[in-house]
Each structure stands twice: as C-alpha cells, then as structure tokens.
Symmetry: C2
Subunit: 338 residues, 2 copies
C-alpha cells in the first residue's frame, strides 16, 4: 500500500541499507548513487515510517504532554511554551487531556509508552503519592505545578507563595489591614500554595489571619461571583481588599460587587492571580500577579530535554521555580479612611 524504503531501494537499484544511509546521512555514499536515491525518494514522495523508525532507534522524537484539561487561555499558553522548546529540539508533541485523577493519568501515560521519549505531566489535583504510582518507571518525567513528589522526579512550579507575598505587601503598603482571601479548590496544589503564601505574608506583616476572611472558591468566574455575594451578605466588618487566588474568580467578584453598586477600588480593592489576558480589559483593569505561563511550559520542556540528555541520578529531585511578579493596574487603591 504505502511506499516503503524497499520500493525506493528497488527502483534505485541499491539495497535498503544504502537508501537509509542516504536519507540519514549516516555514512558516506557515492555521489551518483546518492543523487539517484534522492530522485526516486522525491518521485515516490517517500517518507520513512515513524513507527518503524521509533522502534528501531529507540527514540521517538516526541514528548508526551498530559494535562488535566484544555480549557481557557492557560493551557494554550502552556502548550505554546512547550511547543516552542520541543520544536527547537525537533520533537513533536503527543498531547492528552482531561485527566483529573491518578487513574486517568495512568491510562494516558501507558498509552504513550513507546511513542514518546519523555513526559510532561500537569496534574495539580492529584496527590504526589498517587501520581508517583501512575507514572512509569523508565520514562523521564517532569511534573508541572504539582505538589512535591518524592523520588527522583524533576519538576517545575510557579512561585505561588512568593507571588501571594508580593501582592499582600503591595496591599499593605497601600494601607489595607483587613484583606480577604478567596481560595481555589482545596485539592489543587497551586491554590493551596497561594493560600499558604497569603497566610505567611499576613503574619509577616503583623496582621491577624481572620478565618472569616478566608472564602471558599473553585477557580471559576461563577465561583468568584458567588463568593463576593456571600462576602457582601454575611460579613459584618467588611474587608477593604479582596485577594482572589486566580483572575477568573477576581473577574467574577468584580462583576458581583459592581452589580451590588459598589465602586471598585473606591469601596473595595480587588486583585487576582495569573494575569490572564482578560485582566487588562475588565473595568477597572485588574491588579494581579503575573505568571509567565508560556515560560513555565518552555522551562519544563527544557528541563525535560536536560534530563533526557543526562538522566538524573537517584535522590536529587531537580526542582525549578518560575517567578511571579506584581502587575499594578486600576482595581486597587488605598482603603477609605474608616
């Protein structure tokens, strides 16, 4: 059916070995035979079968990417960063999404065995131990934004704690004392790290961490909206600032507060985390913590290539952190004088 290296060899009147040598430049070939082979290759529009090549070479020139989801700007940015690095190294990307639990990750990963050289796994909602169980033995893996895994496993994470800290600093420097925090899903590693950062920074600033100011959320705009409503209804002494664990929730909160007739930032400051593109366009534009998601992806891929080149010895879990920086826009200002 499809044209193989044998067809080329037959027509060029050489052996398959010679064709292979020509195509891979893996050994010297006489110029005229080389030309003949190339001509036939073009005529037949031959291109080598990837599976066979992978099988023999024991190298797939592809990276596996396992994601929990593909929804929203976050993943497209992440993929773009990964793709950039991969393409540089001449590797393709085998992506698989919608794997929220360890089982799902496990299935995806098994399906990739033998077709990729390494794995990039993002599973913020899977615990480190069950993730370790789902990952294959032989395949170099870099995890993204997951809780620290024991064992020799490289990983890249966002500096969530640092990002939360710098945001709290900013709010405190503006004069805020009562700062509410809107959490993400409790099993999400990013969400918990941001909450940790909030708590630590508040304490460092000498401010009490009032648990009634820590609101439940789920990383969705809808959830942010609801949380803001609850905040307005139930709290007696209102906070002067609301720090949402991600931008989507901050946007939802902005909407809810706006609907309730509040003036942002006059009546309350609202800030987020991530710096998704929408953050620039809402009114008022959202002060937030910028995470260069494409850089996160690129760094992870680069790290994976490094591990691929020189496998890391047992024990030394290689860990990289990408920085998060404050982006000041118009959704926060000094609190009203009491």
């Amino acid at each position: 059916m499809a044209v193989t290296i044998k067809d080329v060899a037959r027509l060029a009147q050489v052996s398959v070995a010679t064709v292979s040598r020509v195509l891979n430049a893996s050994a010297p070939v006489r110029e005229d035979t080389r030309a003949r082979v190339l001509a036939i290759t073009r005529d037949l529009r031959f291109s080598p079968n990837g599976a066979a090549r992978t099988l023999k070479r024991r190298q797939a020139s592809a990276l596996g990417v396992v994601l929990p989801d593909l929804y929203g700007e976050f993943f497209s940015e992440l993929l773009r960063g990964i793709d950039l690095e991969a393409q540089n190294a001449g590797h393709a990307l085998l992506v698989s999404s919608s794997h929220h639990d360890a089982r799902g990750v496990s299935v995806a990963v098994r399906a990739m065995r033998g077709r990729v050289d390494g794995l990039l796994v993002m599973a913020p909602e899977v615990s480190a131990t069950s993730l370790a169980g789902a990952l294959p033995d032989g395949l170099p893996t870099v995890t993204l934004n997951t809780a620290p895994t024991q064992g020799a496993c490289a990983s890249v994470t966002v500096d969530n704690v640092g990002g939360a800290r710098v945001m709290i600093h900013h709010l405190v420097s503006l004069g805020h004392r009562r700062i509410a925090f809107l959490c993400g899903p409790s099993r999400n590693a990013d969400a918990t790290a941001r909450l940790r950062g909030y708590r630590a920074a508040m304490r460092a600033a000498g401010l009490p961490v009032d648990d009634t100011l820590v609101l439940r959320g789920d990383f969705t705009e809808q959830g942010g909206w609801q949380a803001a409503r609850r905040l307005l209804e139930t709290t007696r002494r209102r906070p002067t600032a609301l720090f949402a664990a991600n931008d989507a929730m901050a946007v939802g909160a902005l909407l809810a507060l706006h609907e309730a007739g509040m003036n942002i930032p006059g009546d309350m400051s609202v800030v987020g985390f991530d710096d998704i593109p929408i953050a620039r366009y809402v009114t008022p534009s959202l002060t937030t913590v910028r995470v260069a998601i494409d850089v996160l992806g690129a760094r992870a891929a680069a790290l994976l290539f490094r591990v691929l080149a020189t496998p890391l010895r047992g024990g030394d879990a290689c860990r990289e952190v990408v920085p998060a920086e404050l982006v000041v826009r118009h959704s926060c200002g000094p609190p009203l004088p009491a």
Copy 2:
C-alpha cells in the same frame, strides 16, 4: 532495559502469543493462565510498546494536528474540540504548530507519517494548490478553514460569508448606511471570505461598496488600533459603523476610538467577528459574530473518523460548514441623526 512482552511471557511461563491474546482479548485463553499473565503484567507494570504495536497493526490510534500557531484562545478551543472527539474514539493527538507556509506543513506532515491514522490540517494562509502538494497521498486528511481544495479532500469551514451577512443585516436594520470594513491579512482564507460576505451583503442591501471604507488590517489588536487611527485622520465623511474582520482588531479599534474621545456606540458603532472571551469584558461589550470554535474542531475530528471508517471515493470532496451567529451586546446602536 524497558520491560517487554517477552519478560512477561517468560515469568508467566507462556508464549508471547498468549500474553498478547490476554492483553488484547483477541482469542480465548484459559482462565487460570489469563489470571497468571495479568498478575505478572501488573507486577512488572508492563505496558506494550506503542511503536511496535503501531507498526504491526498498521494503525496508530492517533490523529495528527497541524496548526499555523498556538497563540490565543482560538487554538485552545479548537484543540479542545478535537481532543474531545479523539478521546471518545480512543485516539491520541500529535500536534505540531508554527507552520505558516506550505514547506512547513510538508515537513510537519512527513514527520507524522506512520505515527498517525489521519490528519487535521489548518493552514488558512496556504493556498489550496500548494497545500495539496504538501499533503501526503495515503493519509486521510481533513482541512480546517482553508480555501477549497480540489481533489478528494474533506474539509470543515466556518460560515464566514453568512456571518458577515447577518452582521451587515443587523447594522442596516439599525439604520446604518456607511459601514466601514476592517480586513484581515489578504492571504488568509477566513479574512477574504469575511470581506466577500461584507461586499455581498452590502450590495444585497442596496448600499454602495465604497472602497475607501475598506481598511487594511492584520487580525491583531495593534493593527486594529492603527486602522482606527487612520480612519479618524483621513476619511472625510466618517462611517457610522466599523465592522472588524475579527474581535482582536475590534478591541484595538475600540481602544483607539476611546482614546480619541469618541463615544461608542454613540459616535460610532464597532463590531467584530469570532466572539473571543474578551469580547464580553471590554467596555462597551462587543457585538460580534459567534463562531463555536470547539464545535469546529469536534466536527473536523468527527469527519476525519468518518473518512477513516469509509474512505471517500475520488471526486466527492466532502465539505462541512459550521454556522456563525450574531451576538448582540453594547458596542453598536443606531447611528446619530445626520
């Protein structure tokens, strides 16, 4: 190194054939041997080598996705739609991006040969003929949003012409007569189709198509900003409405007009095309034409699977169109009385 089916066979004291039969349920196996094989498989954490499997089975259980880029929400939505269908069918996705010209597409496609069962190609900036030259012979392919290809090649496109028409209808029904159009890149198939739709709808409404009202653009926010500036500077009789060929440009134009002190939609209506998420958040929120991008991806994948199941006979180029619908928000209103 890695554990193979032979290791499993040896430890389970059966032949590799039996192991294969157990794992694929391809032939009856006695219950006790079956259990033994499964136990060893689990113990060794064996999973079959994808490359070898693909090679022998002549089916990769993967789809190739070739994209011009990965930038922005558009591609993440598209991928999500594709992934949904693919996952349903138990297929993985091999993606490759940043292929703007025919050569790039050709390289990407050759690299996929033998590792995918079919191809989803999006290359709006590549002409139909050179695309046809870049595509392989044997591999079933569905093109997305590309100019009609001759030859038996399935494709899915957005109803750009219809979308432009309904938008013009809407503007005309509000009372607009002088409607400017902000073009996309001239080699982009979507962009030219939208321009065609604009022209046709204007004519159908009995309005003159004034070429000074057709502005050059490039699908970027920056480009939309510049075009709006030019519009303000050079045109004598201003249009009462500006129809941008995509939302990114509409947002840029909105910004420029706002900076120039204009009131939208009071002084001029601005509308876009695509309905990217940001469209809801700009002020005023953007009236636009909604394209269900995830549906586009899903339909393309579904079509590819259909072709895979029953290859289409020569000649009958299978073509699908996904609808585009008007979304009315706040960026357009009736024109000021002259």
